[in-house]
Amino acid sequence: MSTVNAVGISPTELKINVEKGKETELLKYVQVLNSDINPVHITATVTGSVAQFITLEKTEFDLPAGPGMHSDLASPYQYVKVIFNIPRELPQTKYSGEILFTEKTTKSGMLTTAAQTGVAVELTIGKMANAVFPMYMNILLIILFLSLIFSIFYKRK
């Protein structure tokens, strides 16, 4: 009795760039698809140094039967939300890893087999974010400065 393992993903990579010193929350999506003619059960895991910043909306789910691996018809799919939580205190560096999607046979055998593919993830913490000083603060400072000068001269008189 042989079994089938199948899984499909899109995209195959996620490249994230954020500025250093900026707390960032990002939401991305991965489409997980099944072309095989049998329903599949998918598990998702995150590996590598980037894993500490990633939360997956779901890590285990089913996909219905698809049209066949050699078919050009459409495949059923689910979106998996990928949430990045990047703290502000990270140094300027790169983190990498993978979001792995695996379909593992549940039939017993001497060598249990699994089909796997992954989304390569690269997170780059870039240069320090430029602080934008609000215009109203500039105006307030000018007023404060002028008031100070005026009061000094007024006292001297």
């Binding site: 499909g8 991305k28 698809l33 046979t105 001497m110 593919t117």
Partner: protein, 354 residues
């Protein structure tokens, strides 16, 4: 004599009085004329108000099918992203029934790949005479004009909401595509010539980004070696490792590298995974084959372009066979098992990507 101060007060007063008096006289004379007319003979006023089709108004464009990071090839009915429809109406001066039709072009990228226009589909709701008429069946678009909202037409101050869907063909190239849209409204009740039809042209108004997709399937598994004697070398059971078949699906739109790794075998004792060998032989006749690998626990930490030469840059719609063999060590009898993973990644990538 009037003093200077008094003159400055009097002049504006006099001027104001004169203006008020003039307005009164004019108004009175007009009402007198109307009064006389009402008392006199009836007159017929002939006036022809022409049917007028005001300008076409299109809202909620462009039609972007891209969901944040793009769509996978080999998926159907992907809706317009964001506000799901596009709104068609005419200006407020329209006083005739009008019909709406549309056409579109194929979507192309900058290097000549294209998504045929028939992959763009619409259904629509028409709001006319204060009621909503839905047309839920999907209609394929084409370069030819496609009439919407049936023959009933839309009354003045009405509109149509058009919902867009895109089927992305399997294997569609990873790129960003753009296409054109046209809308046309016309009315047989409006004055002829340029006044009875209006058009709207939206260049590059349909757009989608197609992302990379990989599909892998492993068949003729699990891998079984049956009941074996210690100290022997055995092939896997027929069609359970002798061979196995990895398929890269037709929806895949990038070349793929294929790698295999596995755990040690657990049972009454421990068997190192490297007692298992797999080969890229494409038929039984090629076994024993010089190209074979011991089963490792880990994947290489850099690209080796697949485990074998013919396992690198595999195109879509390809079957890859492998044959499995085991050196059975002198261990205690019993059932042994391990997990083996076939991993497909985009060609040239790092298989561990850690």
């Amino acid at each position: 004599m009037v003093s200077k101060e008094k003159r400055t007060i009097l002049f504006p007063l006099i001027l104001f009085s004169v203006i008020i008096f003039t307005i009164f006289v004019v108004f009175h004379s007009m009402t007198s004329v109307i009064g006389q007319s009402e008392r006199g003979e009836n007159t017929t006023v002939n006036i022809t108000i022409r049917g007028y089709l005001d300008n076409i108004i299109v809202k909620e464009f462009p039609v972007n099918f891209t969901v944040d990071i793009g769509l996978a090839p080999g998926t159907d009915n992907n809706p317009k992203w964001g506000i799901p429809y596009l709104n068609i109406s005419t200006g407020k001066n329209t006083n005739v029934k009008w019909n709406v039709s549309m056409n579109a072009s194929s979507m192309t990228d900058s290097i000549g790949h294209f998504i045929p226009v028939k992959e763009i589909k619409v259904n629509y709701s028409c709001f006319t005479d204060g009621s909503q008429i839905d047309f839920p069946d999907l209609t394929e678009l084409s370069y030819n004009l496609q009439s919407l909202c049936g023959d009933i037409g839309l009354t003045p101050d009405s509109y149509a909401l058009i919902y867009f869907y895109l089927d992305v063909p399997a294997g569609q190239y990873n790129s960003t595509y753009y296409g054109d849209l046209w809308f046309h409204v016309n009315s047989s009740e409006a004055m002829t010539g340029e006044g009875n039809n209006r058009s709207w042209y939206g260049p590059n108004n349909t757009t989608v980004t197609i992302k990379k997709r990989i599909d892998i399937k492993w068949t003729l598994t699990p891998i079984n070696f049956g009941i074996v004697n210690p100290g022997t070398k055995v092939n896997a059971t027929k069609n359970q490792g002798w061979p196995t078949n990895v398929t890269i699906g037709s929806a895949t739109n990038v070349p793929v590298d294929l790698y295999i790794n596995g755990t040690d075998l657990n049972g009454p004792e421990f068997i190192d995974s490297q007692n298992i060998t797999y080969s890229n032989a494409t038929s039984e006749n090629e076994w024993p084959f010089i190209h074979s690998h011991l089963l490792n626990n880990t994947l290489p930490s850099f690209s080796t372009k697949g485990d074998f030469t013919n396992w690198g840059s595999i195109p879509n719609n390809t079957d890859v066979f492998s044959y499995w063999e085991m050196n059975v060590p002198n261990v205690a009898g019993g059932d042994y098992s391990a997990n083996v993973i076939a991993k497909a990644i985009e060609a040239g990538g790092d298989p561990t990507n850690g």
